[in-house]
Amino acid sequence: MYCVFRENSEQQYISLIKGENMKKQNMFAKEYAWRGLMTAGGLLVIAITICIGAFLIYKGSGTFTIFGHSIFEFLGSTDWNPEDNAQGGGTVGALIFIVGSLCTCGLALLIATPFAVGSAIFMIEIAPKFGEKFYRPIVEIFAGIPSVVYGWVGLTVLIPAIKKVFHLQVGHSVLAAGIVLALMIFPTISNVAADSIHSVPKDYRMAAYGLGSTRWQSIYKVVIPAAGSGILSGIILGLARAFGEALAVAMVIGQTTALPKGLFSTTKSLTTEIAAQMGNATEGGEMKTALWTMALLLFLLSLLFILLIHYFSRPKKDKE
Protein backbone atom coordinates (compact mmCIF):
# COMPACT_ATOMS: atom_id res chain seq x y z
CA MET A 1 0.00 0.00 0.00
CA TYR A 2 2.72 2.47 0.90
CA CYS A 3 3.86 2.78 -2.67
CA VAL A 4 0.48 4.33 -3.41
CA PHE A 5 1.44 7.48 -1.57
CA ARG A 6 4.22 8.25 -3.95
CA GLU A 7 3.46 10.49 -6.87
CA ASN A 8 1.03 8.19 -8.66
CA SER A 9 -1.70 9.62 -10.81
CA GLU A 10 -5.28 9.55 -9.59
CA GLN A 11 -6.16 6.88 -12.12
CA GLN A 12 -3.50 4.50 -10.99
CA TYR A 13 -4.44 5.09 -7.40
CA ILE A 14 -8.07 4.15 -7.95
CA SER A 15 -7.21 1.06 -9.92
CA LEU A 16 -4.83 0.00 -7.17
CA ILE A 17 -7.50 0.36 -4.53
CA LYS A 18 -9.87 -1.64 -6.69
CA GLY A 19 -7.29 -4.37 -7.10
CA GLU A 20 -6.77 -4.40 -3.34
CA ASN A 21 -10.49 -4.73 -2.75
CA MET A 22 -10.71 -7.57 -5.23
CA LYS A 23 -7.86 -9.28 -3.49
CA LYS A 24 -9.53 -8.77 -0.14
CA GLN A 25 -12.79 -10.21 -1.39
CA ASN A 26 -10.91 -13.10 -2.84
CA MET A 27 -9.24 -13.73 0.49
CA PHE A 28 -12.54 -13.64 2.33
CA ALA A 29 -14.02 -16.06 -0.17
CA LYS A 30 -11.08 -18.37 0.39
CA GLU A 31 -11.39 -18.00 4.14
CA TYR A 32 -15.06 -18.98 4.09
CA ALA A 33 -14.53 -21.79 1.60
CA TRP A 34 -11.78 -23.34 3.72
CA ARG A 35 -13.68 -22.80 6.93
CA GLY A 36 -16.68 -24.50 5.35
CA LEU A 37 -14.51 -27.41 4.27
CA MET A 38 -13.06 -27.77 7.77
CA THR A 39 -16.51 -27.66 9.34
CA ALA A 40 -17.74 -30.24 6.87
CA GLY A 41 -14.79 -32.49 7.73
CA GLY A 42 -15.43 -32.15 11.46
CA LEU A 43 -19.16 -32.76 11.07
CA LEU A 44 -18.46 -35.79 8.88
CA VAL A 45 -16.26 -37.32 11.59
CA ILE A 46 -18.93 -36.73 14.23
CA ALA A 47 -21.59 -38.12 11.92
CA ILE A 48 -19.51 -41.24 11.20
CA THR A 49 -19.03 -41.88 14.93
CA ILE A 50 -22.74 -41.48 15.64
CA CYS A 51 -23.56 -43.69 12.66
CA ILE A 52 -21.26 -46.45 13.91
CA GLY A 53 -22.91 -46.30 17.33
CA ALA A 54 -26.41 -46.30 15.88
CA PHE A 55 -25.57 -49.15 13.52
CA LEU A 56 -24.17 -51.23 16.36
CA ILE A 57 -27.24 -50.59 18.50
CA TYR A 58 -29.52 -51.47 15.58
CA LYS A 59 -27.64 -54.68 14.77
CA GLY A 60 -26.89 -55.66 18.34
CA SER A 61 -30.38 -55.25 19.72
CA GLY A 62 -31.60 -58.00 17.36
CA THR A 63 -30.68 -60.66 19.89
CA PHE A 64 -33.24 -59.24 22.27
CA THR A 65 -35.90 -57.98 19.86
CA ILE A 66 -35.88 -60.48 16.99
CA PHE A 67 -34.73 -63.65 18.75
CA GLY A 68 -36.36 -62.82 22.08
CA HIS A 69 -33.49 -63.57 24.45
CA SER A 70 -33.36 -61.74 27.72
CA ILE A 71 -30.47 -59.46 28.59
CA PHE A 72 -29.81 -61.57 31.67
CA GLU A 73 -29.36 -64.66 29.54
CA PHE A 74 -26.85 -62.81 27.38
CA LEU A 75 -24.86 -61.41 30.28
CA GLY A 76 -25.32 -64.11 32.89
CA SER A 77 -25.37 -67.52 31.21
CA THR A 78 -22.46 -69.64 30.03
CA ASP A 79 -24.65 -71.53 27.58
CA TRP A 80 -23.27 -70.41 24.21
CA ASN A 81 -24.88 -72.27 21.37
CA PRO A 82 -26.60 -69.90 18.94
CA GLU A 83 -28.17 -71.35 15.80
CA ASP A 84 -26.57 -70.24 12.58
CA ASN A 85 -29.91 -69.44 10.90
CA ALA A 86 -32.66 -66.83 11.02
CA GLN A 87 -35.09 -69.09 12.89
CA GLY A 88 -33.09 -68.91 16.11
CA GLY A 89 -33.88 -71.13 19.06
CA GLY A 90 -30.29 -71.52 20.29
CA THR A 91 -28.76 -70.04 23.41
CA VAL A 92 -26.68 -66.89 23.53
CA GLY A 93 -25.06 -66.81 26.97
CA ALA A 94 -21.88 -64.78 26.52
CA LEU A 95 -20.64 -64.95 30.09
CA ILE A 96 -17.63 -67.07 29.09
CA PHE A 97 -16.34 -64.36 26.77
CA ILE A 98 -17.09 -61.55 29.19
CA VAL A 99 -15.27 -63.37 31.98
CA GLY A 100 -12.43 -64.23 29.60
CA SER A 101 -12.04 -60.60 28.59
CA LEU A 102 -12.20 -59.36 32.17
CA CYS A 103 -9.72 -62.00 33.40
CA THR A 104 -7.09 -61.36 30.76
CA CYS A 105 -7.38 -57.58 30.97
CA GLY A 106 -7.45 -57.59 34.76
CA LEU A 107 -4.38 -59.80 34.87
CA ALA A 108 -2.61 -57.60 32.32
CA LEU A 109 -3.37 -54.50 34.37
CA LEU A 110 -2.23 -56.21 37.55
CA ILE A 111 1.10 -57.08 35.93
CA ALA A 112 1.65 -53.91 33.93
CA THR A 113 0.54 -51.15 36.31
CA PRO A 114 3.20 -51.41 39.03
CA PHE A 115 5.97 -51.76 36.46
CA ALA A 116 4.62 -48.99 34.26
CA VAL A 117 4.16 -46.51 37.09
CA GLY A 118 7.54 -47.53 38.51
CA SER A 119 9.33 -46.94 35.26
CA ALA A 120 7.47 -43.66 34.76
CA ILE A 121 8.76 -42.52 38.15
CA PHE A 122 12.22 -43.76 37.24
CA MET A 123 12.40 -41.85 34.00
CA ILE A 124 11.11 -38.57 35.45
CA GLU A 125 12.26 -38.51 39.06
CA ILE A 126 15.24 -40.76 39.49
CA ALA A 127 17.20 -40.67 36.27
CA PRO A 128 15.75 -37.79 34.24
CA LYS A 129 18.68 -37.53 31.82
CA PHE A 130 18.90 -41.21 30.95
CA GLY A 131 15.11 -41.42 31.07
CA GLU A 132 14.48 -38.64 28.58
CA LYS A 133 17.33 -39.63 26.27
CA PHE A 134 17.10 -43.43 26.12
CA TYR A 135 14.43 -45.02 28.25
CA ARG A 136 11.43 -43.01 27.10
CA PRO A 137 12.10 -43.18 23.34
CA ILE A 138 12.52 -46.94 23.59
CA VAL A 139 9.28 -47.32 25.54
CA GLU A 140 7.56 -45.12 22.96
CA ILE A 141 8.74 -47.32 20.13
CA PHE A 142 7.03 -50.24 21.84
CA ALA A 143 3.70 -48.43 21.88
CA GLY A 144 3.72 -48.57 18.10
CA ILE A 145 4.59 -52.20 17.48
CA PRO A 146 1.71 -54.04 15.76
CA SER A 147 -0.17 -56.40 18.05
CA VAL A 148 0.40 -59.35 15.75
CA VAL A 149 4.13 -59.14 16.50
CA TYR A 150 3.40 -59.38 20.22
CA GLY A 151 1.11 -62.31 19.59
CA TRP A 152 3.65 -64.05 17.40
CA VAL A 153 6.49 -63.65 19.89
CA GLY A 154 4.13 -64.77 22.67
CA LEU A 155 3.23 -67.84 20.65
CA THR A 156 6.81 -68.80 19.83
CA VAL A 157 8.61 -67.80 23.03
CA LEU A 158 6.20 -67.37 25.91
CA ILE A 159 3.99 -70.42 25.42
CA PRO A 160 6.81 -72.99 25.25
CA ALA A 161 8.34 -71.27 28.28
CA ILE A 162 5.10 -71.52 30.29
CA LYS A 163 4.74 -75.13 29.22
CA LYS A 164 8.24 -75.92 30.43
CA VAL A 165 8.23 -73.93 33.67
CA PHE A 166 4.84 -75.10 34.94
CA HIS A 167 4.90 -78.61 33.39
CA LEU A 168 1.68 -78.21 31.42
CA GLN A 169 0.33 -80.05 28.43
CA VAL A 170 -0.60 -76.82 26.63
CA GLY A 171 1.02 -73.48 27.21
CA HIS A 172 -1.97 -71.54 25.89
CA SER A 173 -3.57 -69.95 28.91
CA VAL A 174 -5.07 -66.90 30.54
CA LEU A 175 -1.65 -66.26 32.05
CA ALA A 176 0.01 -66.11 28.62
CA ALA A 177 -2.67 -63.73 27.34
CA GLY A 178 -2.27 -61.59 30.44
CA ILE A 179 1.50 -61.35 30.02
CA VAL A 180 1.28 -60.52 26.31
CA LEU A 181 -1.36 -57.87 26.99
CA ALA A 182 0.68 -56.49 29.89
CA LEU A 183 3.66 -56.05 27.57
CA MET A 184 1.39 -54.35 25.04
CA ILE A 185 -0.20 -51.86 27.44
CA PHE A 186 2.96 -51.18 29.45
CA PRO A 187 4.21 -48.41 27.10
CA THR A 188 0.78 -46.73 27.02
CA ILE A 189 0.41 -46.54 30.79
CA SER A 190 4.05 -45.63 31.26
CA ASN A 191 3.93 -42.74 28.77
CA VAL A 192 0.74 -41.19 30.09
CA ALA A 193 1.88 -41.59 33.70
CA ALA A 194 5.27 -40.05 32.88
CA ASP A 195 3.54 -37.08 31.23
CA SER A 196 1.36 -36.47 34.25
CA ILE A 197 4.28 -36.86 36.69
CA HIS A 198 6.29 -34.48 34.55
CA SER A 199 3.55 -31.85 34.74
CA VAL A 200 3.63 -31.75 38.54
CA PRO A 201 5.15 -28.34 39.35
CA LYS A 202 8.75 -28.43 40.49
CA ASP A 203 7.91 -26.20 43.47
CA TYR A 204 5.97 -29.07 45.06
CA ARG A 205 9.09 -31.24 45.14
CA MET A 206 11.24 -28.39 46.32
CA ALA A 207 8.77 -27.69 49.12
CA ALA A 208 8.83 -31.34 50.13
CA TYR A 209 12.63 -31.38 50.15
CA GLY A 210 12.60 -28.15 52.09
CA LEU A 211 10.55 -29.81 54.80
CA GLY A 212 13.24 -32.45 55.04
CA SER A 213 11.68 -35.35 53.17
CA THR A 214 13.72 -37.91 51.28
CA ARG A 215 13.22 -38.46 47.57
CA TRP A 216 10.96 -41.46 48.13
CA GLN A 217 8.87 -39.54 50.65
CA SER A 218 8.45 -36.66 48.21
CA ILE A 219 7.50 -39.13 45.48
CA TYR A 220 4.82 -41.06 47.29
CA LYS A 221 3.48 -38.29 49.52
CA VAL A 222 3.54 -35.41 47.03
CA VAL A 223 4.23 -36.35 43.42
CA ILE A 224 2.02 -39.43 43.10
CA PRO A 225 -1.06 -37.85 44.73
CA ALA A 226 -0.58 -34.74 42.58
CA ALA A 227 -0.26 -36.83 39.41
CA GLY A 228 -2.88 -39.38 40.49
CA SER A 229 -5.61 -38.47 38.03
CA GLY A 230 -3.19 -38.58 35.11
CA ILE A 231 -1.86 -41.97 36.19
CA LEU A 232 -5.42 -43.24 36.48
CA SER A 233 -6.31 -42.07 32.98
CA GLY A 234 -3.17 -43.82 31.74
CA ILE A 235 -4.30 -47.04 33.39
CA ILE A 236 -7.78 -46.74 31.87
CA LEU A 237 -6.27 -46.00 28.46
CA GLY A 238 -4.21 -49.17 28.80
CA LEU A 239 -7.29 -51.11 29.89
CA ALA A 240 -9.19 -49.88 26.85
CA ARG A 241 -6.36 -50.99 24.58
CA ALA A 242 -6.22 -54.39 26.26
CA PHE A 243 -9.99 -54.81 25.98
CA GLY A 244 -10.06 -54.13 22.27
CA GLU A 245 -7.16 -56.42 21.45
CA ALA A 246 -8.18 -59.47 19.43
CA LEU A 247 -5.24 -60.75 17.44
CA ALA A 248 -2.54 -61.12 20.06
CA VAL A 249 -4.97 -62.60 22.57
CA ALA A 250 -6.41 -65.05 20.05
CA MET A 251 -2.95 -66.44 19.35
CA VAL A 252 -2.15 -67.28 22.96
CA ILE A 253 -5.44 -67.86 24.77
CA GLY A 254 -6.21 -71.29 23.34
CA GLN A 255 -9.77 -70.64 22.07
CA THR A 256 -11.82 -73.05 24.20
CA THR A 257 -15.46 -72.28 24.92
CA ALA A 258 -15.30 -72.80 28.67
CA LEU A 259 -15.05 -70.65 31.72
CA PRO A 260 -11.44 -70.25 32.88
CA LYS A 261 -10.84 -72.31 36.01
CA GLY A 262 -7.52 -70.79 36.87
CA LEU A 263 -4.49 -69.02 35.50
CA PHE A 264 -3.54 -71.95 33.32
CA SER A 265 -6.84 -72.83 31.70
CA THR A 266 -7.71 -71.92 28.15
CA THR A 267 -10.74 -69.79 27.35
CA LYS A 268 -12.02 -67.18 24.91
CA SER A 269 -12.57 -63.45 25.09
CA LEU A 270 -15.19 -61.20 23.48
CA THR A 271 -12.90 -59.96 20.75
CA THR A 272 -11.40 -63.33 19.88
CA GLU A 273 -14.83 -64.95 19.60
CA ILE A 274 -16.06 -62.17 17.30
CA ALA A 275 -12.92 -62.43 15.18
CA ALA A 276 -13.15 -66.21 14.99
CA GLN A 277 -16.86 -66.52 14.14
CA MET A 278 -17.60 -63.38 12.11
CA GLY A 279 -16.46 -64.88 8.83
CA ASN A 280 -18.51 -68.06 8.85
CA ALA A 281 -21.76 -66.88 10.43
CA THR A 282 -24.81 -66.41 8.18
CA GLU A 283 -25.98 -62.85 7.68
CA GLY A 284 -29.12 -62.23 9.73
CA GLY A 285 -28.74 -65.46 11.65
CA GLU A 286 -28.88 -65.82 15.40
CA MET A 287 -25.12 -66.39 15.61
CA LYS A 288 -24.28 -63.22 13.72
CA THR A 289 -26.78 -61.17 15.70
CA ALA A 290 -25.32 -62.42 18.97
CA LEU A 291 -21.86 -61.46 17.71
CA TRP A 292 -23.20 -58.00 16.91
CA THR A 293 -24.51 -57.78 20.45
CA MET A 294 -21.05 -58.63 21.74
CA ALA A 295 -19.62 -55.92 19.51
CA LEU A 296 -22.16 -53.52 20.96
CA LEU A 297 -21.06 -54.53 24.45
CA LEU A 298 -17.43 -53.80 23.55
CA PHE A 299 -18.47 -50.44 22.09
CA LEU A 300 -20.36 -49.52 25.26
CA LEU A 301 -17.41 -50.58 27.42
CA SER A 302 -14.95 -48.48 25.44
CA LEU A 303 -17.39 -45.57 25.68
CA LEU A 304 -17.43 -46.08 29.44
CA PHE A 305 -13.62 -46.07 29.55
CA ILE A 306 -13.49 -42.83 27.58
CA LEU A 307 -16.03 -41.24 29.91
CA LEU A 308 -13.94 -42.37 32.89
CA ILE A 309 -10.81 -40.83 31.36
CA HIS A 310 -12.65 -37.55 30.86
CA TYR A 311 -13.92 -37.76 34.42
CA PHE A 312 -10.44 -38.32 35.89
CA SER A 313 -8.61 -35.80 33.71
CA ARG A 314 -11.14 -32.99 34.07
CA PRO A 315 -9.65 -29.69 35.30
CA LYS A 316 -9.71 -29.78 39.06
CA LYS A 317 -10.88 -26.95 41.25
CA ASP A 318 -8.26 -25.67 43.64
CA LYS A 319 -8.72 -27.17 47.04
CA GLU A 320 -7.85 -25.19 50.12
Binding site: V45, F115, G118, I126, F142, V153, W216
Partner: protein, 79 residues
Protein backbone atom coordinates in the same frame (compact mmCIF):
# COMPACT_ATOMS: atom_id res chain seq x y z
CA UNK B 1 17.21 -46.89 64.57
CA UNK B 2 15.63 -43.46 64.57
CA UNK B 3 13.15 -42.04 62.13
CA UNK B 4 15.62 -40.21 59.98
CA UNK B 5 17.77 -43.26 59.46
CA UNK B 6 14.72 -45.36 58.66
CA UNK B 7 13.48 -42.81 56.13
CA UNK B 8 16.92 -42.77 54.51
CA UNK B 9 17.00 -46.55 54.40
CA UNK B 10 13.57 -46.79 52.81
CA UNK B 11 14.57 -44.11 50.32
CA UNK B 12 17.58 -46.12 49.29
CA UNK B 13 15.60 -49.35 49.03
CA UNK B 14 12.93 -47.72 46.88
CA UNK B 15 15.54 -46.13 44.64
CA UNK B 16 16.98 -49.59 44.18
CA UNK B 17 13.53 -50.99 43.39
CA UNK B 18 12.95 -48.36 40.72
CA UNK B 19 16.36 -49.06 39.23
CA UNK B 20 15.51 -52.76 39.16
CA UNK B 21 12.20 -52.13 37.39
CA UNK B 22 13.88 -49.87 34.87
CA UNK B 23 16.76 -52.27 34.20
CA UNK B 24 14.35 -55.21 33.91
CA UNK B 25 12.14 -53.50 31.37
CA UNK B 26 15.04 -51.94 29.53
CA UNK B 27 16.59 -55.36 28.98
CA UNK B 28 13.18 -56.90 28.23
CA UNK B 29 12.37 -54.32 25.58
CA UNK B 30 15.85 -54.45 24.05
CA UNK B 31 15.74 -58.23 24.12
CA UNK B 32 12.30 -58.30 22.51
CA UNK B 33 13.39 -55.97 19.74
CA UNK B 34 16.67 -57.75 19.07
CA UNK B 35 14.90 -61.14 19.09
CA UNK B 36 12.44 -60.00 16.42
CA UNK B 37 15.09 -58.20 14.38
CA UNK B 38 17.70 -60.97 14.52
CA UNK B 39 15.16 -63.71 13.82
CA UNK B 40 13.74 -61.64 11.00
CA UNK B 41 17.06 -60.97 9.32
CA UNK B 42 18.41 -64.49 9.67
CA UNK B 43 15.24 -65.87 8.10
CA UNK B 44 15.10 -63.37 5.27
CA UNK B 45 16.31 -64.15 1.77
CA UNK B 46 16.31 -61.83 -1.26
CA UNK B 47 13.82 -64.10 -3.06
CA UNK B 48 11.28 -63.45 -0.31
CA UNK B 49 10.67 -59.93 -1.53
CA UNK B 50 9.75 -60.95 -5.05
CA UNK B 51 6.18 -60.67 -6.30
CA UNK B 52 5.81 -64.37 -7.06
CA UNK B 53 2.64 -66.20 -6.23
CA UNK B 54 4.29 -68.61 -3.80
CA UNK B 55 6.99 -68.21 -1.21
CA UNK B 56 7.30 -64.45 -1.32
CA UNK B 57 5.88 -61.56 0.62
CA UNK B 58 6.22 -58.87 -2.02
CA UNK B 59 2.47 -58.70 -2.65
CA UNK B 60 1.62 -58.52 1.03
CA UNK B 61 4.25 -55.85 1.60
CA UNK B 62 2.90 -53.80 -1.30
CA UNK B 63 -0.70 -54.21 -0.13
CA UNK B 64 0.16 -53.03 3.39
CA UNK B 65 1.81 -49.87 2.11
CA UNK B 66 -0.99 -49.36 -0.42
CA UNK B 67 -3.62 -49.60 2.33
CA UNK B 68 -1.73 -47.14 4.50
CA UNK B 69 -1.51 -44.76 1.54
CA UNK B 70 -5.25 -44.98 0.82
CA UNK B 71 -6.22 -44.53 4.47
CA UNK B 72 -3.93 -41.48 4.71
CA UNK B 73 -5.63 -40.10 1.61
CA UNK B 74 -8.90 -40.13 3.55
CA UNK B 75 -7.72 -39.27 7.01
CA UNK B 76 -5.35 -36.36 6.36
CA UNK B 77 -8.02 -34.06 4.86
CA UNK B 78 -10.41 -35.02 7.68
CA UNK B 79 -7.79 -34.25 10.30
Amino acid sequence: MNRVQRARGINQIMTGVFYLIAVFFFTLLIGFASYVIIKGFTGATPEMFAFARKGSIGNQLFNTIYLVFISLLFSIPLE
